[in-house]
């Protein structure tokens, strides 16, 4: 057992209101520089939809992630044999057209325009060239199903649906959507790291945060193609790739990442998971129907004395193990099993998990009146949700509908249980039966309810002590760093000649 710790995340999709506050918080802190305007380290997509960059989930197009070839894990886009041949022109590299051309408006004309017959307008100006431009797409062009006929229809996850289900999704009275916020998953088997010819990308041993060494990146841009989630971005100005850093300077000082901190729906949870690094490769090679449970089984119980001993032997500090015991992520993912990793079939072993969203039940139309297709069979509803289980399973369960059904049933049972307590129109017996059938005890239901709805800041973010002071002690004289922030070089990101 090779125990390591990983700062991990849960996003509770049922709570996301699609306000994009998280994206703005991130942008203001990290990506408001030239060359990064188009980057959204945190973005929020409407599902069904094609997302950002357009159709990122389509690996036929982008060749991201890993594939199993004759029992071996291979990067889809590159590898030692291909790396030099493709270095001059990367055949799988997305271009700005797949994202969008960033723009602003020439607001001055609103003030400076000479008097005339027409109202002056502010025209869009490209943030790349500074010239006037036609806006053709934006980072969130299909927000709230805008232009679904064109956009959502190309969502790769819809492949999992039958033709009938597809039709139903777009019928007005059955229309449904949910939001899907995304950041880098800080994967255990990151394909971005594995693809970098310069070895500039790395995973931090202590907390698992995946970073790009800006001084080593040489713009070979392999990571852009290799990350199946398209969470590394190329800075066209500095000639360096950049990605979500999980706000490590904030984490190191005990603060939640900006997107977590600002989240209006309070959908975000962060905490440490201990896992067995010895099993990374084995789990990443599991067939699709076993891989989700395989990844879950890598996550270790921080209260198990054997695990604790192995963790200590690996130099994991006591307070980090303690923090792992309080981790909300551990509860959602491992204890309750209601949070699932996105697209595990890409085999990068993402460490951001999603609680699948509940959706209204299916409605039908009888002449002019709309009716709901529910009988009182409570569990039947889950399968009659407007978002088909098969869709969610493609997105979050590597195709395993059972896992999604389990997570949704449990959430539904918790709702019934609370409804019986607070509203009283559900009788206790059927609430109890619902819990039993959802594999949920009363204590668990109570805990899920509390962590979902009554969670305070400290319940949601259990930030482990990062012990960066030890890093500095190792390599420098601590007094030399007194009163300095100590985040390495601080020269501006000046483009090379």
């Amino acid at each position: 057992m090779d125990v390591r710790s990983q700062v991990s995340m849960v996003f509770h999709l049922d709570k996301c209101i699609g306000c994009h506050t998280c994206s703005i918080a991130c942008k203001n802190v990290w990506t408001d520089r030239q060359g990064t305007e188009y980057m959204w380290w945190n973005n929020v997509e409407t599902k069904p939809g094609t997302g950002f960059p357009t159709a990122w989930e389509d690996q036929e197009k982008y060749q991201g992630g890993w594939e199993l070839k004759k029992g071996e894990l291979k990067l889809k886009s590159t590898g030692p044999a291909k790396v030099m041949a493709n270095i001059f022109h990367n055949p799988h590299q997305p271009s700005m057209d797949d994202y969008y051309e960033p723009w602003t408006y020439d607001y001055e004309t609103l003030f400076d325009a000479p008097e005339g017959d027409d109202q002056p307008v502010a025209r869009p100006v490209s943030r790349v060239t500074g010239e006037y431009m036609e806006v053709e797409a934006g980072p969130n062009w299909d927000d709230d199903l805008g232009g679904s006929e064109i956009y959502a229809a190309n969502d790769p996850n819809l492949d999992a649906l039958t033709e009938e289900q597809r039709q139903q999704l777009s019928a007005v009275e059955r229309l449904v959507m949910f939001y899907f916020p995304r950041i880098c998953n800080h994967c255990l088997n990151p394909s971005c790291v594995a693809s970098c010819p310069s070895g500039a990308l790395y995973k931090r041993g202590e907390d698992g945060i995946v970073l790009i060494d800006q001084k080593r990146c040489r713009a070979w841009r392999s990571c852009i193609a290799a990350c199946p989630y398209k969470k590394t971005y190329y800075n066209w100005q500095t000639g360096k790739s950049e990605k979500c850093i999980l706000c490590y300077p904030r984490l190191e000082t005990g603060q939640a990442p900006a997107c977590f901190h600002s989240c209006v729906g309070r959908i975000r949870y962060l905490g440490v998971l201990l896992y067995d690094a010895e099993r990374i490769e084995e789990v990443a090679k599991l067939p699709d129907d076993e891989i989700v449970e395989g990844q879950r089984s890598m996550i270790l119980d921080p209260r198990d004395p054997e695990v604790v001993a192995a963790a200590k032997a690996n130099g994991i500090p006591d307070d980090v193990i303690e923090s792992a015991c309080k981790s909300p992520v551990y509860r959602f993912v491992k204890e309750w099993k209601i949070a699932l990793p996105p697209h595990l079939e890409f085999r990068t072993l993402p460490m951001l998990f999603y609680v699948p969203p509940m959706s209204p039940v299916m409605a039908g139309k009888d002449g002019d009146s709309v009716y709901h297709l529910t009988d009182n069979n409570l569990f039947h509803d889950i399968d009659q949700s407007r978002v088909p289980i098969s869709y969610l399973a493609k997105l979050l369960g590597a195709g395993n509908e059972g896992l999604v059904r389990y997570a949704l049933r449990k959430q539904k049972a918790v709702r019934l249980y609370r409804r019986a307590l607070t509203v009283g129109d559900v009788d206790d017996a059927s609430a109890a039966r619902a819990l039993r059938e959802a594999d949920c005890t009363v204590e668990e239901a109570e805990a899920i309810y509390r962590l979902t709805t009554l969670c305070t800041f400290d319940d949601r973010f259990v930030i482990p002590p990062m012990h960066r002071e030890e890093a500095i002690q190792m390599i420098e004289e601590p007094h030399g760093h007194r009163q300095s922030v100590g985040f390495g070089f601080t020269a501006g990101p000046k483009r090379g000649l």
């Binding site: 271009s95 066209w236 000639g239 030890e470």
Partner: protein
């Protein structure tokens, strides 16, 4: 007159080369140590991906082959002479070399056409880039011209340029090896020294950081704080 051209040769083929080499070594090392952030291929594929292939690929495959040819002729001239002893082999070598040279030139022209056709690319084209393009264009055009008009260069390079370069390397410069060469050839050589001297101030530094360790490193990279060796990499 001969005196003058003697001094000119000394200036252009002794002084300039040494200045260029000093600039090259000091410049690249200083830049690597002080501004390693600036070492990048500055790829522009992200901004323009349609014409990109048609310039980058022929240019790079071409230039790398041509440079390799020059390097072999410089380092082991005898092998080239031995190979060229049979006319058929000489023809094959000459035609291949010319083909790669022409491919490089075509690639560079495609690169230039691409640069000029996109306002996004112009936005990221520096003055140093333009100087570099001019030098490269002259280098490739003169090289292809020499190959066409003074054939069997693979043989006479080994008998002129190679001993000249060795004499420079041994710090006892001997210009007489190249003094009698035609003026286009001399210009080709002079421009090469300019390219070398200008090298540290351009994007060409990307050639020095080609990613060899990828082939034998482990696929995943993990850096620990606790290991002082790797920790240093983080803090720098």
């Amino acid at each position: 007159m001969t005196q003058l051209s003697h001094y000119l040769d000394q200036l252009l083929f002794v002084a300039v080369p040494y200045v260029a080499l000093v600039l090259f070594f000091l410049g690249t090392i200083y830049r690597y140590r002080a501004e390693s952030f600036s070492y990048s291929s500055l790829s522009s594929q992200f901004l323009e991906n349609k014409q990109h292939f048609w310039g980058m690929v022929p240019f790079h495959y071409g230039i790398l082959t041509v440079l390799a040819g020059h390097a072999v002729a410089f380092l082991v001239p005898r092998s080239i002479l031995a190979w060229n002893a049979r006319p058929l082999r000489l023809y094959i070598l000459e035609i291949t070399a010319l083909a790669f040279g022409a491919m490089t030139l075509v690639g560079l022209l495609a690169i230039l056409a691409r640069r000029r056709s996109s306002s996004k690319l112009l936005r990221v084209t520096s003055k140093a880039d333009w100087v570099l393009y001019a030098l490269l264009l002259f280098q490739l055009a003169s090289g292809v011209y020499v190959a066409v008009s003074y054939p069997w260069g693979s043989s006479w390079f080994a008998a002129t340029a190679s001993p000249y370069l060795w004499s420079l390397a041994k710090l006892s410069p001997e210009v007489s090896w190249v003094a009698a060469l035609p003026w286009v050839v001399k210009l080709h050589m002079l421009n090469a020294w300019l390219l070398i001297g200008f090298f540290p101030f351009t994007r060409l530094v990307h050639i020095l950081v080609v990613p060899n360790p990828y082939l034998w490193r482990k696929r995943q990279v993990v850096r620990w704080n606790r290991d002082p060796r790797t920790a240093r990499l983080i803090e720098r």
